[in-house]
Amino acid sequence: MKNQLRYNPDLSGVTVGEQRKMLHTLEDKTIVQLFLDGHEHAFEELVNRYNVRLLNFVYRTVGDLERGQDLVQETFVRVYRHAHRFDQTKKFSTWIYTIAGNLAKNELRNRSRSPLVFFQTIKKNWEADHRPLEWEDASFRPDDLYRKRHLKVLVEKAVNELPENHRIVFVLRELEGKSYEDIAEITGCRLGTVKSRLNRARNKFAGIIAPLLS
């Protein structure tokens, strides 16, 4: 049954709820094909599968959640527009990450030219100050909690301090768990370049966080 769904899905005469259930079991490529055949729910399934993953990848790369969300949306819009260009012999995840990665790179490039960066940085800090109060678990000591949260902020900051090219490779490897080959395809670099960038990123990351952890 599963194989039949995977290779020969027939969504005609099926209710929307059932369609969604069926789509959930299919591979990315099959879903893209269904979308190209005119099934709009297939696109919805793609968005459901990738929205959080892409948001975290773009957010870690760009360092701004709001902008990251816009870029993720733009990624899906591009997928919708150009789904017919997707080479079905390749991985869909690599293709969508390539689009998102390119958008993130463009964003960083534009920021380096625009003074808006400073405003965004300030704005981010303001937002952090106005966060709502959260109730903590009483079993933890406040010192530990503070330290842990503080560490998280510092580690996040350390990632943002990495050079743009190194950061993308680092995030794709450490947070998205992508293989070297996939990273090479997403970033459009050679395998050797990916390895050396990842190594440098890790070295720099360790250099930044080492004094904080000890």
């Binding site: 968005v47 959080v52 948001l55 957010y59 947070l175 390895k195 070295n203 080492a210």
Partner: protein, 188 residues
């Protein structure tokens, strides 16, 4: 293995498969080097903290905004298709018109337009029966279009008569004035 070499190949050791010779080579160095062990621990810890951070969530407006944008894309696609159909239709119409004009130009009806046709002379008046129309040789040929040289010669041949005709001593000035109207009725 030196520490610098370990750091240089750190990613290779870190990402190598569990039982691979590369991994074992790295682990062998870690057993004897405290500094590199600390370095590996720092990286692993940092990445661990990073992975612990809960993933960012999408805002509520994300879906509505995406749907709105996709609605417009669909609209564009439909309109784009209509535009293409209209363009194709107009192209076909223009081509049809052009071919029709070419056909007409080459057809037999239009090929005769502009050709000289020899028509028989129309006689507007004829002499009375039994008489012949005699045209004196000396008088100017009224049926013949005077060539410019002939006309000039005829006009200037009696220059004195011409001067008299148009001078105040001429007959036309002595005679009472003649009024002419457009309807060709003469009033004296």
């Amino acid at each position: 293995m030196k520490c610098s070499e370990f750091l240089e190949k750190f990613s290779e050791f870190q990402d190598a498969q569990k039982d691979s010779p590369k991994k074992k080579e790295g682990e062998k160095h870690l057993l004897v080097c405290e500094k590199c062990t600390h370095y590996t621990a720092v990286v692993s810890m940092g990445v661990g903290i990073l992975q612990e951070i809960p993933p960012a969530g999408l805002s509520e407006s994300f879906w509505a905004s995406l749907e709105h944008r996709i609605f417009h894309i669909r609209d564009e696609k439909i309109l784009g298709g209509t535009h293409l159909t209209l363009l194709a239709r107009s192209c076909v119409t223009v081509c049809a018109l052009l071919s029709f004009i070419v056909l007409l130009k080459n057809s037999a009806v239009f090929s005769n337009i502009g050709r000289d046709v020899d028509l028989p002379a129309i006689v507007v008046s004829s002499p009375p029966p039994g008489q012949q129309l005699i045209i004196p040789r000396s008088s100017p040929d009224i049926f013949e279009q005077p060539s410019s040289s002939k006309f000039v010669y005829w006009f200037w041949s009696d220059i004195n008569g011409l001067m008299y005709e148009y001078s105040t001593m001429g007959e036309r000035y002595r005679a009472s004035s003649v009024l002419r109207q457009a309807d060709l009725v003469e009033y004296k």
